[in-house]
Symmetry: C2
Subunit: 274 residues, 2 copies
DNA sequence: TGAGTTCATCTCGATATGAGAAGAACATAA
DNA sequence: TTATGTTCTTCTCATATCGAGATGAACTCA
């Protein structure tokens, strides 16, 4: 059950006093990922005010809970914050084709020095998007290569990293990356990083960027085509060859599968098993 | 980032006024699963007050946010609610061996008729536990067979189901069951439903209860023993044969693997793929 | 004692995987 | 234009895994 039970609903509403409750704030934070120049990038904003002023953080902010403003659902808040703080337009615009899913909720006491804050984190997969423009409370906004953030497996950032992340956002980002790596194995979400039409080598580049390791081109090709519903051929062929030569690859679009069966397991997970 | 930035932290704290913020409540709800008599059961409590008085619901309640009471972390709140509302003792007692993980957060406006409530759901896997005793706000508490709740894939309950769940708890439970089914494929968490020592047929019964289908005993046996770190032999043998005959099965305990590789894929997922 | 059940292991064909090879198509530099 | 190197795509082949069925021994219950 949810809040404490009352003898009668109208009695509760009449006696309602927000000060009687522990003050809590609910926010959304978004881990937005994309591929740029063959490398995995995350969308970050630079904080325009205290605390952590000047540091980089995940885009996010308050959920409109319904007091003064109209109540909004959590995924709507995630899209709104993404749009507000980056200048990217919402569902109908550049953010129309992004995949959005809930990542997890972070509420450890003290994670925000001001008050008790419960943050619902969302994970977004986007095809290559334009550079963001700072808006809302952000002093700056940019796509940042994930490798440049020096993230350790523990969720901490390694010493010497220039861009330190505010709050516990390094942990949230680490969790988001792990989720993304897993999702690529069992779901066709790698196609969410590509345009409407893409080639198998492009798709392979997505896997290599997210997993951080090179794949066997021949086996990858065979595998992608053998999994039912992963991709479907457009019949067309790319009008250019590879960047450094090679024949013109064929074009595909995302299929109707929601799960990859069998899965595309990544190599060298031996270390992670125990 | 989290709450709206302030120019200065002390200025913020001085000007702090809870009424200036949208009133939000944060709760935890727990989907606690176990196996009883070969069937998957979920822990439910009967509501002692409005709204949804008399209906069944997931155990849960307010997170102590830090106003009047000491601030508690979200997983601690989940364990506390589980203990309070069921009479089961906490980390050191009957709840000591349960696996607990975050399931997701539910915050759609209107999901609680009283006010805006954000509920962080947790998923618990437990070995066979004693019958719960109602406590806290609960009028009753019981392990209920999941099949008796008439859950559809949509998260709704089928008409004619006697035990209707309060709030959106049918959806939360449906999501929890789906998570449990997935987790059994890639992780050794099925052992969390067993005692410290168990037999391969017992483990198979867990998979059959959660997945709702019978497995090939021979292949299952081969598979469990071939996955590194899933189970390790105790050298001992059960002192009784099967319920309806058969030789005494050998005893095993959980191994040190965190991931099953290769995974134990469940049959007949064809329908779910698209 | 006999009938039926279950554990544990094995066999066999079908399928999936990793590693490598090869030919054709293309970009780039000489 | 030619030469060189890269890449796409399709093979091959040995190995590993999987589903389905069969078998014999061990056990419970009537």
């Amino acid at each position: 059950m949810s809040p404490e039970p009352m003898r009668d609903e109208s009695a509760f509403l009449a006696s309602y006093d927000p000060r009687a409750y522990d003050p809590v704030a609910v926010t959304v934070d978004v881990v937005a990922l994309t591929i740029r120049d063959g490398a995995l990038h995350v969308l970050l904003v630079r904080r325009g005010g205290a605390p952590y002023e000047g540091m980089w953080a995940l885009p996010g902010g308050f959920v409109h809970a319904g007091g003064r403003r109209e109540a909004e659902d959590l995924p709507d808040a995630a899209v709104r914050e993404l749009a507000e703080e980056t200048g990217l337009s919402g569902k109908d615009g550049a953010l129309g084709r992004v995949h959005l899913e809930q990542l997890g909720t972070y509420g450890t006491p003290g994670r925000d020095p001001r008050m008790r804050v419960i943050s619902v984190a969302y994970l977004a997969f986007a095809p290559e998007l334009p550079d963001p423009e700072a808006g809302g409370d952000a002093a700056d906004a940019a796509w940042v290569p994930v490798d440049a953030l020096g993230l350790a497996e523990s969720g901490d950032q390694r010493p010497g990293t220039t861009r330190r992340l505010a709050f516990d956002h390094a942990r949230i980002l680490t969790d988001g990356l792990e989720r993304a790596r897993d999702k690529l194995e069992y779901t066709p979400l790698a196609t969410a990083f590509c345009g409407a039409e893409f080639t198998i080598p492009e798709l392979r580049a997505v896997y290599e960027a997210v997993w951080g390791e090179e794949l066997h081109a021949g086996n990858f090709h065979r595998k992608v085509l053998s999994v039912p519903g992963f991709v479907e051929s457009t019949g067309a062929t790319s009008d250019k060859g590879g960047r450094r030569g090679g024949p013109r690859p064929r074009l595909y679009r995302a299929g109707d599968a929601r799960l990859l069966h069998p899965a595309l397991l990544r190599p060298s997970r031996e270390e992670e098993i125990r």
